[in-house]
């Protein structure tokens, strides 16, 4: 008997996506691809004012148009409560409930017809008259209600004012960030089909379970009566974290017409109906010693919010613990405006807050005459300053060191405006970033059947991040199976409960549940394997037995054992299943702070100062996200987020018309997102160790891509030109 070599680990390796083939063939079914016999189509009518009320709405012409099945307005819409609050904030206000208008683009009617063309044509025949009121659109307009620290997320420690007064060097500046729209390429779509009192929804969501809970509550149904399918999503970037009004309207439309109904948003509707990153104005005040040591850090934000909706957007949260500083004061305020309800978009809060904090640090570094990277190192937080607990894991120093080496930071001439090549001015910039630990309770179930293959599932969502793939890898590793013998499925509300795919939280939440389910299933098999007549492992304790290659065998004699299939056959079982549960660790028990993932971001910009042309030549992100389950996919996420950061930095601004609140650029021709030609060298490196707080060792990857990109770019622009740009996006007119 030859000694079998330990199987190479399935994790960490750059395994290709398990659903890749279906995507490159165009076979992956997105919600907009779902069809039903007798499918009807819905088209929305949106408000053309931003504030006021509907004084009259005339639907007769629309009702009489060819193919029209129903026209629903606030006059005949069933009365619905607001959906229940979720783990990540309140639900949107239910649609079409009264005559009040709070933003341009608000839904005022829906037309259901035999075809989309008929529905769209009839929607134009709905005649709406309004009583227009004065709208409020500017963050600094005092007519808009200012909500001070509405979420109680503000935090203070020490005495900031005292520390600022006695600091050797102080710095203060204000920063602003524009509204940015998620703009996934996939048009958000809900297909709703009733069968008696049960409702099936195919929905563009990042959170299958929440759609079920919310819709069930709104319609007064038991949760089992709502089935939600969301196996694929054409991008969400946070837009799929809520049950937005169109999904509710689709369900009502299907109920009213007695037909399955598809409601696919148009691109302009994607700007007003599914959230977007709100604009912010921020002030940062820093106090430091000449050595660079921070003694005071104050970070206040005012964030745009709609008139009636809610959107917890933790802009200043990152400043609580980012640096070792004894005196800290952070606070998020909100201003209510007549704008479409904002929502999460890629690293909500951190995307805006990191720009201000990391720009301010950079400004302080020049004031101190200190290398900006050195300033950050000197303020490295040895412990979580907010809780006082040691980090569960923190390789931020390695991020700085590896990044500096890989990027060639030493080649940076510290003098502003000193680096040139032909007509290009060159600048290097750096930013540090993190995104808070987010893990919540999650469930999974694992089954191995008579064919010896495993089926593992959870109601989770794979929004393109690779959840299916990494969970297949994780399950295969834990169950001692090859990748092709494991199927991981998700996106179905009948599966065990999972939190949202968002906030860099799913891989850890779900990973721990999958780990638990697989270990438990393996345990059940081990128990059975040593039992019963004919067991080759009879008499072994479970410690003597290991699993590999789909076989349970003696640790000291791999030849002695049997396969999963043989165990099941011997016991006359068709399959064996186990449930898994994952819950977040409790810092009070572990004595460790839940460490966020950390990263350092380096940027090289090239500026043609004569024409104001800015090109981002290089971007490097060095990431400590704990254990990386699949480096290939994790890298893709960081690259994608980083390029999203180029958009935030240079192009993206959702523009509201003064006076009317209409979005002036609600198309892909007018709202610019980065294209291939905008992307130079985008490099990623991973450092750090598995985090010890969970068996999976992950800390979350996705949100580490975008934040800090704009700050690193703006810092590089200053280094190149001496122009300090404190407002995003940075446009040509600020540079030439």
């Amino acid at each position: 008997m030859t000694e079998t070599k330990p199987a190479p680990t399935l994790l960490g390796a750059g395994v290709d996506r398990v659903d890749g083939l279906s995507k490159v063939r165009g076979e992956a079914p997105f919600p907009s691809d779902v069809t039903y016999p007798r499918l009807a189509h819905a088209a929305l009518v949106r408000s053309t004012i931003a504030a006021g009320r509907i004084s009259r709405i005339t639907t007769r012409a629309a009702e009489e148009a060819p193919g029209v099945l129903a026209v629903i307005t606030h006059q005949n819409m069933p009365r619905l409560e607001r959906g229940p609050a979720t783990l990540i904030g309140p639900s949107p206000v239910s649609p079409l409930q009264d005559d009040q208008v709070f933003h341009h683009g608000q839904y005022v009617a829906v037309v259901v017809a035999e075809s989309l063309q008929q529905a769209s044509a009839a929607a134009e025949l709905v005649d709406v008259e309004y009583e227009v009121a004065a709208g409020v659109f500017d963050l600094d307009d005092p007519r808009g209600e200012l909500r001070v620290d509405p979420w109680g997320s503000g935090a203070r420690r020490g005495d900031v004012e005292g520390a600022l007064a006695s600091a050797e060097v102080t710095f203060e500046a204000s920063y602003s960030t524009a509204a940015n729209t998620n703009n996934p390429i996939g048009l958000f779509t809900t297909v709703a089909a009733w069968e008696g009192d049960t409702l099936t929804l195919h929905d563009s969501t990042q959170w299958t379970a929440n759609v079920r809970t919310t819709i069930a509550a709104l319609f007064g149904l038991p949760e089992e009566s709502v089935r939600v399918h969301a196996p694929f999503l054409g991008g969400g970037f946070g837009a799929g974290l809520r049950v937005w009004p169109h999904a509710v309207i689709a369900a009502v439309a299907a109920q009213v017409t007695g037909r399955p109904v598809k409601l696919e948003l148009t691109r302009p509707q994607m700007f007003t109906g599914i959230g977007y990153r709100p604009a912010t104005e921020q002030t940062v005040r820093l106090g430091a010693l000449r050595t660079g040591q921070l003694v005071a850090l104050q970070h206040h934000a005012t964030i745009a919010i709609g008139i009636v909706d809610e959107n917890p957007e933790p802009v200043t949260l990152i400043s609580q613990s980012a640096y070792a500083c004894p005196n800290v004061d952070v606070r998020d305020d909100e201003r209510r405006l007549n704008i479409p309800p904002p929502g999460p978009l890629r690293a909500p809060g951190a995307a805006q807050g990191t720009f201000a904090l990391e720009s301010a640090l950079d400004e302080l570094s020049y004031k101190l005459g200190m290398d900006p990277l050195e300033l950050r190192l000197r303020n490295y937080a040895e412990v979580d300053a907010h809780s006082g607990l040691p980090w569960s894991s923190n390789a931020l120093r390695d991020c700085y060191a590896v990044g500096a080496e890989r990027f060639g930071w030493a080649q940076r001439n510290p003098e502003v405006g000193s680096m040139r090549e032909d007509s290009w001015q060159i600048g290097y910039g750096v930013a540090s970033l993190s995104y808070h630990w987010w893990q919540v309770r999650c469930e999974a179930r694992a089954t191995i059947g008579r064919d010896g293959t495993a089926f593992v599932r959870s109601a989770a969502n794979d929004i393109g991040t690779g959840t299916r793939t990494v969970m297949t890898q994780l399950s295969a590793e834990l169950l001692g199976l090859g990748l092709s013998d494991v199927r991981f499925d998700l996106g179905d509300s009948t599966m065990p409960w999972s939190p949202a795919a968002g906030g860099s939280g799913l891989t850890t939440s779900l990973g721990v549940a999958v780990d638990d389910a697989c270990r438990s299933l393996r345990g059940k098999f081990l128990e059975l394997a040593v039992q019963g007549p004919g067991s080759p492992l009879a008499g072994c304790s479970s410690d003597d037995v290991v699993v590999s290659g789909g076989r349970l065998h003696r640790k000291d004699d791999p030849g002695v054992g049997e396969s999963y299939a043989e165990v099941l056959a011997r016991h006359g079982l068709d399959e064996l299943s186990a449930d898994g549960l994952g819950a977040p660790p409790d810092p009070a028990q572990t004595g460790l702070a839940l460490s966020p993932p950390f990263a350092a971001k380096f940027a090289e910009v090239r500026i043609d100062a004569d024409l104001g042309i800015l090109r981002v030549a290089r971007l490097l992100t060095v990431v400590d996200a704990g254990r990386i389950l699949n480096e290939k996919l994790a890298r893709s996420q960081i690259v994608g987020g980083t390029i999203g950061g180029i958009g935030q930095a240079l192009f993206e601004e959702t523009s509201f018309d003064p006076g009317t609140g209409r979005i002036a650029n609600a198309t892909f021709g007018d709202y610019l997102i980065p294209v291939s030609a905008d992307v130079g060298d985008v490099d990623v490196a991973f450092v750090g160790q598995p985090d010890p707080l969970t068996p999976v060792g992950t800390k979350g990857v996705g949100e580490l891509g975008l934040p800090g990109t704009a700050a690193a770019i703006a810092n590089a622009v200053y280094h190149a030109t001496g122009r300090r740009l404190r407002s995003l996006p940075i446009a040509i007119e600020q540079l030439y």
Partner: protein, 163 residues
């Protein structure tokens, strides 16, 4: 009055009965069940609906189905018939050139055309001539790598065979 048009889609004859305003995109998706071609903006600005018309890449959302009478349309479903995989599709998987996968069929159709146009000579050229296909997941660097890889295969194959 219905307009009947005859065209070839993925090398098979097809007949469409049209009112007039139907776009090729809607005809493919709704009438022919070819849902691989995606609608991202329906306004000619994102590239998700890219198909080949007589071998050239076009946007099916701004093409009337009626205008395709007598023409040849190739969609992502027609790239590698009979369950095969086109080299560009294989390279996209290998290089992880997508995340959510929604813009992917359009990216792949555009990439196939770009290779045919001889515009994969450098990364810079690939970037420029792929810029009509938006990807919000921003898999751009991996898309460029995938195309470069296929262009290299084609080039080396050409050299080996003395072409």
């Amino acid at each position: 009055m219905k307009i009947v048009v005859a065209l070839r889609v993925n090398e098979a004859a097809a007949r469409l009965s049209l009112d007039g305003p139907e776009t090729l995109l809607d005809a493919l998706r709704d009438q022919m069940g070819l849902e691989g071609t995606k609608k991202g903006c329906d306004q000619g600005a994102c590239g998700a609906c890219t198909v080949l018309l007589d071998g050239k890449r076009v946007l099916s959302c701004l093409t009337l189905a009626a205008q395709c009478d007598g023409h040849e349309v190739t969609t992502v479903e027609g790239l590698a018939p009979d369950g095969g995989v086109h080299p560009v599709q294989a390279a996209f998987i290998r290089h992880d050139a997508f995340q959510c996968g929604y813009c992917t069929p359009g990216q792949i159709m555009s990439a196939v055309a770009l290779l045919d146009e001889g515009r994969a000579g450098s990364d810079e050229e690939i970037r420029e001539f792929m810029s009509g296909n938006l990807c919000r997941c921003a898999a751009y660097p991996n898309i460029v790598a995938a195309i470069r890889d296929v262009a290299g295969e084609v080039a080396s194959h050409g050299a080996d065979s003395g072409v």
